[in-house]
Amino acid sequence: MAGRRKFIIARVLLFIVSLVYIIPVWMVLINSFKVTAEANMMGISLPSDMVFHFENYREVIRTGGIIRGFINGIIESLLSVILIIIAASAAGFVIARRNSRLSNAVFMLFIMGLIVPVAYIPTYLVLDRLHLLDTYTGIILIFTTYGLPQSVFLYVQFAKTIPRELDEAAILDGCSTMQLFTRVIFPLLRPTTATVFVLSFVGAWNDVMIPMFFVNGNKWALPLTVYNFYGGYMKSWNLVFADIMLTIAPLIVVYLLAQRQIVSGMTAGAVKG
């Protein structure tokens, strides 16, 4: 009897915890459909006149630079993710296989990148000297650089679980090193590639400081565009909330579809396998 009561209390408490997570998102969603005056009250009830103002979304798409931000985000995140996957999978494979002092040192250098904060000012100088300040190429290379440590780490971990006998068999069958990697190993690394893809994409898409330092507003991805929009429309929360919904909806959909990959990627290496 006492056990049952405890169980019910725990359930109720946890349900309240989940509300703490759901209500903010609900508040954004429901207010994005209201007229300005009512949205500014920030209530969580349905619109008082029961009319859903979808035109808020049309307005935001027209004035908020949503399309631009979306395309910027796709270009920058996608291209840096492709570079990350190519560079990190190859490096991770070699580091996992060679056990020399040099490869261990290289691995340590990448691990350092997980801890050391971005050296913004010197990076700014390097980009300036390479004429890459305020260019797509520049920001893509910086996203690539800061996506590498985590991705190399994940690839090394996973490549170690692929049996070496496979390499030897492939070489005996006449594969070159390049073929061994591209035809045999890379396809086997696919689960890690999926994880790296999602993590690096979300990381670049959501980053705040790198775009602020190295490119102008016309090359920002959606989240920063929203912040800019908010700066100009502080008095129209319905539009700000609609803008937020448009920004977070794609990621929430991706999350619900690829939850397993995202979660396993983010917790990888934290658990003894």
Binding site: S103, A119, A270, K272
Partner: protein, 292 residues
């Protein structure tokens, strides 16, 4: 003896090393030098060494020390709260059920949202008159608890801490959750046979075997705590009266004023502090890990 040529050609490392060297290693090495120069936006191409001037000015600036203090306060508070809450939540959602899988999904969700967007949402939640937090507190009669969260020096920092914990506790929850799954069930059974209570089981069976998970979550949360930027920039931008000024916002401010040499010095000190602090924590936790 002739050395056998490895089938794992080193040149496969090249793309990664090249990008990393140019945009990570060179800037970090250059950062040490740039901190000793007067580089600025007005004499952009004329960089001169000015010795220890930047560091002397930095250590003499009151705001810098406030920023250091606030950064450590933020880091320590978020580390403790994210880990305690993350662990308790992991305990709660550990068993497989539909309700628990719903909880895991929902609590992890905010991690997908850019922190700068979370800031805007919380600016609205924390709004003193119309925000849902104060509406709720007033609604249940706790008028005394309804504060001007982000506007009042006394509460602004803790309000930002709460926002950060809301967003990221779910990550620690899932790291602990998978750590718990990895503990062989015989250990619990043995404890049960010995007559251990639930909390004894948690304390003497689970915790010691999960030090590795804690090492990871501690290191992650400390590093992200010390690097905190957007959470502050997007809500208070260091105010009111520097009460939420942190190292990264301080760095960004001097950068946007065009004092690049000075900012590089700030960045360098910032890096040294982060490295030192993580090394200490890592050293302490490493000693406590158990093999099983």
């Amino acid at each position: 003896m002739k050395k056998k040529k490895s089938i794992y050609a080193w040149w496969l490392l090249l793309p990664a090393i090249l990008i990393y060297a140019i945009f990570f290693i060179i800037p970090n090495v250059a950062g040490m030098a740039l901190g000793f120069t007067d580089w600025n936006v007005y004499f952009f191409d004329d960089i001169r060494f000015n010795g220890l001037e930047n560091f002397a000015r930095l250590f003499g600036e009151k705001t810098f020390w406030i920023a250091v203090k606030n950064t450590f306060y933020f880091a320590i508070m978020t580390v403790v709260l994210k880990n305690v809450l993350g662990f308790l939540l992991a305990l709660a959602v550990r068993r497989e059920s539909r309700f628990n899988s719903y909880l895991r999904t929902v609590i992890f969700l905010p991690i997908m949202i850019s922190s700068i967007v979370v800031c805007i949402i919380f600016v609205s939640i924390y709004n003193p008159s119309t925000g849902i937090l104060n509406q709720f507190l007033n609604g249940i009669g706790l008028h005394a608890l309804a504060k001007s969260w982000l506007v009042d020096e006394r509460y602004a920092m803790n309000a930002i801490v709460a926002m950060e914990v809301w967003q990221w506790a779910g990550l620690n929850m899932l790291i602990f959750y998978s750590g718990m799954q990895a503990i062989p069930s015989e250990y619990y059974e043995a404890a049960k046979i010995d007559g251990a209570s639930y909390w004894q089981e948690v304390r003497y069976v689970m915790l010691p075997l999960m030090v590795q998970s804690f090492t990871i979550t501690f290191i992650f949360s400390i590093i992200s705590g010390l690097k905190v930027f957007s959470q502050v920039y997007g809500t208070t931008n260091g105010g009111p009266a520097d009460s939420t000024q942190v190292m990264a916002t301080f760095l960004y401010r001097s950068f946007s004023h065009g004092h690049y040499g000075y900012s590089a010095a700030v960045g360098f000190v910032f890096m040294v502090l982060i490295m030192l602090f993580s090394a200490i924590v890592f050293g302490i936790l490493r000693k406590k890990e158990v093999e099983y």
